[in-house]
């Protein structure tokens, strides 16, 4: 007999891209069967989903947790709670901590901390170069052995093409995935918003969106040269998309992601210097936002992530140029993404292709799909339920969300990791 039967659920299947009523059975932490509407099987526990959506849990690629170094901003315990409340069943952490996660010893430390405190699955990315300073590659082999799922210097660009190409060649020989941040740093230096009318009006230093394409063009050239497995953390501008499309068409092992804030906000949201809307890369024009949404819909951009970046009040209560970048997103990723569904830009199955299936596939994880014998990492949610976000209620230690007071739709009714409910405290 199965452990759990989820019945009367709207199954959101990102593999077959279907959205239909049915049921799922779970045993020993794994999905055992997908049942059609009307079918049933005996189970110890039966959950009536009441027609709500049941989808593979979100795999959030690129989450910053403040351990080590900035535990006052976010710990594994609070990040885990925020993830569970937001339907995120796998957190993929970034190595841009203080100190950077660039040795197997540091990686083992954070893995132990995550194991002890987080209620959801946690995978770790490691730095590509020591100290993320772009001079010397990390011990990629040892880090892989210690469990690193990908290698990235976060928002630091390895400016020296020779050093970068060596790291890529070495990573390639070990089959490691490298994640790049595409930005020409000599063009973007000192900027805090995207150049254009808004930047000029506010008197803020702006970066031309072409800096992103320059970074992408360079990285793609190096991927062509080295054959490494490569993923772009965030593509946020229309003018970078043709280069990405060409790289994929030419058969390079390249994928791309985008942060949820660049899909739901634009440069004008900064308004009167609101620092919770400061991001790196900065928010873009409305034309860019729409183009990037279309690229997610078509599958050109593979992954949507939260780019969860907790910042304390002190880092944000500063003049715009001096304030820290980034926003928390674990808990708001799903309702913010559902804005795209409600606006008619994308279907629910395609949304979960970008939220769950594609990141899992890219990282070699067997979750992210509704298929028998895969982990029962599931999120049950009401896609329509409206609410007004109150940042003080967020589970994250840091409350720096741009959605404070925003009207959102989509509430999580339950999150299960390996068949175990994790969203009840």
């Amino acid at each position: 007999m199965d452990d759990i039967l989820f019945h009367n659920a709207r199954l959101i299947d990102p593999v077959t891209l279907t959205d239909s009523l049915g049921a799922i059975t779970v045993k020993d932490g794994k999905i055992t069967a997908i049942l059609e509407k009307g079918e049933t099987r005996p189970a110890k526990e039966t959950i009536d989903c009441g027609g709500l959506c049941l989808a593979p849990g979100i795999v959030d690629m690129g989450v910053k947790v403040g351990e080590p170094g900035e535990r006052h901003k976010e710990s594994y315990r609070t990040a885990g709670r925020a993830a569970a409340a937001g339907g995120v069943t796998t957190i993929v952490t970034r190595p841009d901590t203080t100190a950077a996660i660039d040795t197997p010893e540091t990686l083992e430390f954070v893995a132990r901390r995550a194991q002890a405190d987080a209620k959801v699955n946690v995978c770790h990315m490691a730095a590509l170069t020591k100290g993320r300073d772009g001079r010397e590659m990390t011990e990629i082999g040892f880090l892989l052995d210690a469990g690193a799922v990908a290698f990235t210097d976060g928002d630091h660009v390895v400016t020296d093409a020779k050093i970068y190409s060596r790291a890529l060649t070495y990573a390639k020989s070990l089959g490691a995935l490298v994640i790049g941040h595409v930005q020409e740093p000599t063009l973007s230096a000192g900027s805090s918003v995207t150049s254009g009318k808004f930047a000029s009006l506010r008197g803020l230093p702006g970066v031309n969106p072409i800096a992103e394409r320059m970074g992408l063009d360079r990285d793609i050239s190096l991927i062509e040269m080295t054959g490494a497995r490569y993923h772009v953390d965030q593509i946020t501008t229309a003018r970078a998309l043709p280069a990405l499309e060409r790289a994929k068409r030419n058969g390079l092992d390249v994928t791309a992601g985008v942060g949820i804030h660049h899909l739901t906000l634009n440069e004008f949201d900064v308004a009167d210097y609101r620092t919770f809307f400061k991001f790196k890369p900065p928010l873009r024009s409305e034309e860019d936002r729409i183009a990037v949404i279309q690229a997610v819909e078509s599958g050109l951009i593979d992954v949507i992530c939260s780019m969860h970046t907790p910042q304390d009040e002190e880092s944000k209560r500063l003049p715009f140029e001096d304030a820290a970048s980034g926003a928390v997103g674990l808990e708001t990723l799903l309702p913010a993404s559902l804005r795209l569904v409600h606006a008619g830009h994308i279907t629910l199955p395609k949304l979960f292709r970008a939220l769950s299936l594609n990141p899992a596939r890219r990282l070699g994880l067997d979750c992210g799909r509704l298929i028998a014998d895969t982990p029962a990492d599931l999120v049950l949610f009401d896609p329509d339920a409206p609410f007004i976000l109150d940042r003080s209620k967020l589970r994250s230690k840091s409350k720096n969300t741009p959605f404070d007071g925003a009207r959102l739709q989509g509430t999580v009714a339950g999150t299960w990791v390996a068949g175990r409910r994790v969203d009840q405290e």
């Binding site: 000192g190 150049s195 254009g196 009318k197 808004f198 930047a199 000029s200 009006l201 506010r202 008197g203 803020l204 230093p205 702006g206 031309n208 009167d272 210097y273 002190e314 209560r317 500063l318 003049p319 715009f320 140029e321 001096d322």
Partner: protein, 319 residues
């Protein structure tokens, strides 16, 4: 009389009637100052703090003089040598000052938006004396008053703003003010010193100075902000002067009665030829300085009236 603002943070949020109200009052103060009429009662009993995070001689002394002429107790804080150096944040500085209950706070800061941020945290009236590359509202107002007095009106004029627009808060405030008052604004700058998207502000953009100056009523020169440049905006000062410096030949393209303005301090021989700057028939640069004091008197007077009204309303509620 219409002037409802609690702070003077920028031109962006002012209504044309508020601008006119302020200029009318400033005009009166300018006249009365010339006649030696004193108004020590207007700000009597109020404390004005000048908080300059960036060094300034001209603007700070202009605000100081304006406050003193209206009877305020004026205090200058040079923030470059204060607790800011010890790591205090802008907001903590604001809260500390606020606890001393000032009435008028005049602030200059190097970061765009910093004065807005500070205004959110204090209970007094805040005047922006320049924030980063964002706004410098009293400069735009004194320029407007100077133009109005010289030309007899502040609408349907053709006005060229020339030079380092990218780094200039003066340019931004002026573009907004002159646009609100329905003038034709032309911007002239080398493309490296022209911010992107300026066409969308309802102005005309020129790279050729002679073309841009054609038949204008007012020529407003900007200072080349060498201290804000981190390299490579212009090839050299002498080439800049050759192509964008205002001399008699280039000025001849403007109307015969066109006036020449400059917010100071001037780089003679870089953006403006010395003889043009000193030509009493064309240059109104000294008038600008005089109007600066009058405009700041008017701004502080109006803000103080609103502040007193607000406090009176609060007291009534409390009773």
């Amino acid at each position: 009389m219409t002037f409802n603002a609690a702070h003077l943070l920028g031109i962006e949020h002012l209504h044309p009637t508020e601008i006119t109200t302020l200029l009318d009052l400033a005009d009166r103060y300018a006249e009365e100052s010339r006649q030696g009429i004193q108004h020590k009662d207007v700000l009597a009993g109020l404390t004005q703090i000048n908080m300059f995070f960036e060094n300034s001689t001209r603007t700070q002394s202009s605000f100081e003089l304006a406050g003193k002429r209206l009877g305020a107790d004026v205090m200058n804080m040079s923030m470059a040598t204060s607790s800011v150096k010890k790591g205090e944040t802008l907001i903590d500085t604001a809260l500390t000052l606020n606890a001393m209950h000032p009435d008028l706070l005049v602030v200059r800061h190097g970061a765009s938006g910093a004065v807005d941020l500070l205004a959110q945290k204090v209970n007094c009236a805040v005047l922006n004396a320049g924030d980063g590359r964002h706004e410098h509202p009293t400069q735009a107002l004194l320029d407007a008053l100077t133009i109005r007095r010289a030309k007899g009106r502040l609408h349907r004029l053709s006005i060229a703003i020339c030079g380092d627009i990218a780094h200039s808060r003066v340019a931004r405030s002026n573009i907004m003010l002159l646009g609100k008052m329905e003038n034709r604004v032309r911007l002239i700058a080398p493309p490296t010193l022209m911010p992107s998207g300026m066409q969308e502000f309802g102005v005309e953009v020129f790279e050729d100075m002679r073309e841009g100056l054609q038949d204008v009523d007012v020529v407003m020169m900007l200072r080349l902000q060498k201290e804000r440049m981190d390299g490579g905006f212009i090839p050299s000062e002498r080439e800049y002067f050759h192509r964008y410096g205002l001399d008699a030949e280039k000025l001849s393209y403007a109307k015969d009665d066109a006036i020449v303005m400059h917010p100071g301090p001037m780089n003679r021989g870089v953006e403006i030829d010395g003889t043009i700057a000193d030509d009493i028939n064309r240059s109104v640069i000294q008038t600008q300085v005089e109007m600066g004091v009058a405009v700041r008197m008017a701004a502080m007077d109006l803000l103080a009236r609103n502040l007193r009204a607000k406090r009176a309303a609060q007291t009534n509620v409390a009773v």
